[in-house]
Subunit: 479 residues, 2 copies
């Protein structure tokens, strides 16, 4: 129920976010430190996300499987960087069935190790390659500061784990997935992301290359929205994943892993939301259209409900995800606010005048007030609504892209860089050194986000130290 | 690869099962005691199971959500029977992020407690009821003896948890779900199950009524294949789930929970399988049809592959889950055995003679040899194959039903009961006493399975003690 008003985004963006997630019933805090409960509305959103990705993975020859939630502690010690990266975040099972375990088990923070172990059993020959497996589920990384969706100890995701014969095949896989992620964000979530490679210091623990997509939030901070890693033979050597090649020589596999998590829901909220609440892109919205009948007496009710029911059935049959809000105990105005807060892209109002005129009123969530309102015929309404949803989807992407591009700066010197990252991203030359990266982090709280694949053909000078630089990178404050 | 022959079912049913699960690549043992890895073929089967059930739950107004994997230990202590039932099976997290936890967390063995806790926060008024939430995921119950799918520490399932205003509504929900389960087994899995109520000693820990479906395996043992529980107010009182009713009085909710787990895959294997391997019902089979091209030289290959490709495309377009096996390194005979072992319901063979005659050969998995083979025209093949798959589905259900009915006995006295449960089920009068139930368990290793809803109108005498009995019950040895 939307009785209490949200803080405005300008007043307190963090509070706006926290309250919105709960008021919109996307998620709630769990009685377990650092954990969340994803409520039905939030889970329906997640299901729309997962089902698009699942279809796309299957269309590119990936298959799903399930590996244990618990992993022997010793598995983490087999890859040096991996154990260093994950040790501080582990939840450890020490007792089972009333007895102390000989070896502690870890609630998986990620599954490279146990999947690597199984691949070493399954892979014998080049004929067994590639293996392209995806696991859907949750993982746990101990976190004390919780922010629903963005940072929780347990979160939901898919993790792809693939094994290949050659470096080229493994790298192609990494890029294939990153492209799927980019397209998913752009086409489905209306979030324009920037693809690129992570710096050495931002790489995944154990990876040789980490690629990622980065999105700009309303407060202009960056959010890493998906990652795709190339491990070379690191994990294959740690777990002995070997195959006989066509000339009968034993070779190590090349592996990758990649993921998008429920964090992406945080991005969706923070890219599109406004002071009224959520604003969900039609393609991914659990409810695309809410239908509100308006009447003042029983006679009007009978007439209005007849039209409303007809409209509801017609749109539902077309495959539009529509909800009728026929609650009696609240006013239409309350309903408008409520569904705007929950981000439903389009509202249809049917009142006594509409019954008379054969019309309905449409109200766009992405354009509030008069500008977003139109009166259309009941005839051909399914087509009108379908078009309108497409228009909304496209318009949301356009708006987010303009916002992003307007807030990426090209500072002329280091002083200006320190200023612009307070209110945007900087796209600047960088010599690739850890020292300059660390200095920006220290001075301006901004980190390198990605080194984009498309680079200027020229060379430049590192914005921090002035040395020769052959790459430009995005610097930004990040979630 | 199907090089090694399975033991026959008669020789060693347990070994037949173990080897088959691994050879068919449904699942594998994990390097974590008691746990399994569900491989892509097994997971595809599970996805077909879950997607049918998920659709059915959504069609009956249920919604999905996600609750934490870890549950505070103290939650289990709030419902007395519940903690007694689950304590011995818990895996306990004692350390997180490098520190000892103040309160240990338990890897969920089932989620009544944490879901009950959240319901107590969410439910305020009768308007909030019913809550009909399903969670898909895995749970963990410490097990030392592992049998893939049938008994593993971690297993996959859905758990439905609902809260209602009245006992009638909660009981209706329990029966609604049990009926969905029964229909699912019958229509999709071709497994005829018997529905009924569990005896007090077989009830779920904390439930007032447990209903279940029971299936008969090839070795005539029973397998509990799904359960639906009515808790009354037990959990509502333990977790304070209260609502204001229409006269503004505070009332406790009535709750239910219900589940089918990945165990059902064990049932599928043990009901339908034979010495050749799996036999999957078409509706649930990941691959419904395998297409094997047969040729001896390049010229034949070109002709055969042209027809095979055409057939493949036509059937795939119709929505049939078809796989082309065009491996060059193995013989057609090897392929036949391989796909029979994996339980694919129908095989299509295309050879040079078929090219000539415009025909293909169909070979049914459920009727091996000549009787199951037919030669049909390439014209209208999609319709022919669709019909054939329906025939196979119906025939598998009929066979399983006949087998079950032929092995349910009505022993005339206790001596005979002890004999018949060695090779079947007994359907007998029982006075409902724990003592008689325990005696049968002691003497004949058989337990009460369910008290079916349909009972004779007459009364009888308890087969154990001879006292008056008003109910008949199934006694059987069970998994």
């Amino acid at each position: 129920m939307a009785e209490d008003k949200l803080p405005t985004q300008n007043d307190n963006f963090a509070e706006w976010y926290n309250q919105l997630v709960q008021k919109a019933e996307l998620a709630d805090y769990a009685p377990v430190r650092g954990c969340m409960v994803v409520r039905p509305y939030g889970w329906a959103l997640w299901e729309n996300i997962t089902s698009w990705l699942d279809k796309e993975f299957k269309a590119t020859d990936h298959v799903n499987a399930a590996f244990p939630t618990l992993i022997p502690m010793s598995f983490f010690e087999k890859e040096k960087e991996h154990v260093e990266g994950f040790s501080p975040e582990l939840a450890v099972v020490t007792h089972g069935g009333g007895e102390k375990l000989e070896e502690p088990l870890v609630v998986r923070p990620t599954s490279e190790t146990i999947i690597g172990y199984m691949y070493s059993k399954w892979v014998k020959s080049w004929r067994d390659l590639p293996i392209l497996i995806v696991q859907w589920g949750s993982v746990l990384r101990w976190e004390l500061r919780t922010k629903l969706f963005l940072r929780t100890a347990e979160f939901y995701w898919h993790e792809g784990h693939t094994a290949h014969a050659t470096p080229k095949e493994a790298k192609d896989e990494m890029y294939l997935i990153l492209n799927i992620y980019e397209r998913f964000c752009r086409e489905e979530l209306a979030i324009p992301v920037i693809q690129g490679t992570k710096s050495d210091s931002e790489r995944f623990a154990g990876a040789q290359i980490t690629t990622a997509i980065e999105a700009m939030m309303w407060d202009k901070r960056a959010l890493q929205s998906g990652t795709s890693h190339y491990f070379g033979q690191n994990f294959a050597k740690a777990f002995d994943i070997q195959y006989l090649d066509q000339s009968n020589t034993l070779q190590y596999c090349e592996t990758t892993s990649w993921a998008i998590s429920s964090r992406i829901i945080g991005a969706l909220i923070m890219v599109h939301g406004d002071d009224q609440g959520l604003k969900l892109p039609p393609k991914i919205a659990p409810i695309q259209v809410v239908l509100v009948p308006i009447y003042k007496n029983e006679e009007q009710k009978a007439q209005v409900m007849e039209v409303a029911n007809k409209v509801f059935t017609e749109l539902k049959t077309t495959g539009i995800r529509i909800k009728m809000d026929d609650r009696e105990e609240v006013t239409p105005g309350f309903k408008y606010n409520d569904w705007e807060m929950r981000g439903v892209p389009l509202r249809i109002e049917v009142g006594p005048k509409d019954v008379e005129k054969g019309s309905v009123a449409l109200a766009r969530r992405d354009v509030l007030g008069r500008d977003g309102k139109s009166f259309v015929s009941q005839d051909g309404l399914a087509a009108t609504v379908t078009d309108m949803l497409e228009t909304i989807q496209a318009s949301m992407l356009e708006k987010a892209t303009q916002f992003r591009d307007a807030n990426i700066h090209d500072p002329k010197d280091y002083e200006e860089l320190k200023e612009v990252v307070k209110e945007g991203w900087a796209f600047s030359w960088w010599d690739g050194s850890k020292e300059c990266e660390a200095k920006v982090k220290e001075d301006a709280k901004a980190t390198t986000r990605v080194i984009p694949f498309d680079q200027p053909s020229s060379e430049g000078k590192c914005i921090v130290c002035g040395n020769k630089a052959d790459k430009k990178v995005y610097f930004a404050r990040a979630y």
